[in-house]
Subunit: 186 residues, 2 copies
Amino acid sequence: MGRWEPNARGRLEQAALELYIERGFEQTTVAEIAKRAGLTERTFFRHFADKREVLFSNSLQELLVTSVAGATDSVAPIDAVVAAFEGAGALLQERREYSLQRQAVIAANPGLQERELIKLASIASALADTLRRRGLTDPAASLTAEAGIAVFKIAFERWISETNQRDFPRLIRESLDELKAVTAGK
Amino acid sequence: MGRWEPNARGRLEQAALELYIERGFEQTTVAEIAKRAGLTERTFFRHFADKREVLFSNSLQELLVTSVAGATDSVAPIDAVVAAFEGAGALLQERREYSLQRQAVIAANPGLQERELIKLASIASALADTLRRRGLTDPAASLTAEAGIAVFKIAFERWISETNQRDFPRLIRESLDELKAVTAGK
DNA sequence: CGACTGTATGTCAGTCACTGTCATCAAACG
DNA sequence: CGTTTGATGACAGTGACTGACATACAGTCG
């Protein structure tokens, strides 16, 4: 076995998730993660900025931005954003078991929740940029993006917590309808 | 000068903000903050859970919850929530200089932004609880709270960034109107 | 006034996340 | 086969944060 086993990053991600599940996030040291992946602590920090980042990636954001950027012009911005989340939700649904495990780890640690929130904020910022590029002005662009995040957050909570798993994209759509009802004031 | 100078916590908060402004958050050590406050590093951690927490308090959350809990029943939930934020905004407006300094420090550091986001999430959770206690059911309660946070976030950004300072509560109200417009789909 | 108690602070040792630096090894290339 | 490039290892160091114990101040009671 050479020094160059393939997919070091992936091995670190898997080892980290396993250990976070087994003993908890705080009780796991980076040295332990690296050892299980057959690497050293220093190498871990070459692949991930910190101990938390190993649970997060930017694939969701890229997916959402691409989706909104490619939406038909006639679709209302809020519907384009939520439709993008529905697409992402369908993908998450295909890996529900992984999503459940990962979310259980995050729910058990405030530091990980912070990281998740800033990732969502980054997505909101990227979506607002995309909407502006499509001609929407501020503050509408920012608010539409934030509204989309809120809808997704609520729907995700429901999807994760419900035992009889309902269709995630459907939950997202229902969440949007509820937001429209709630804000439909005079 | 005895060991018992008054208001240790307040001295730590002020020393921390000063140093974060002077040399930046990361370049400031907790030992330096404690020294400027006439205390030790260990005492800092008895007053604040970590180096970031010294910039945050829960007074805003308590204020908002009290306001929403005391709102008239006939007022729509989203309006009660936003009215609460308008009240909080008026208070922040009275300390605009402090708000600007504090926000400049936070904007310069991702870790502080994370902490700010989880504080806002905590507020959203508390407001949702309050709305539920007033008879609103989920997911409406959670969505209303999240919508209020979104409105506040956008309005706050504008209030901070604009040189000719417009009335903050007014910005909040306008932000809500914009959200209503944006979500007023079919 | 003096002992007693509770709480805030000081002291010290220790763990661990994270970083800078340099050495080393594998693969690709000419 | 030598060179180069990039990923990894080895190691020392800083600083955030914690646990355990000692100490000093403030209030109370006799």
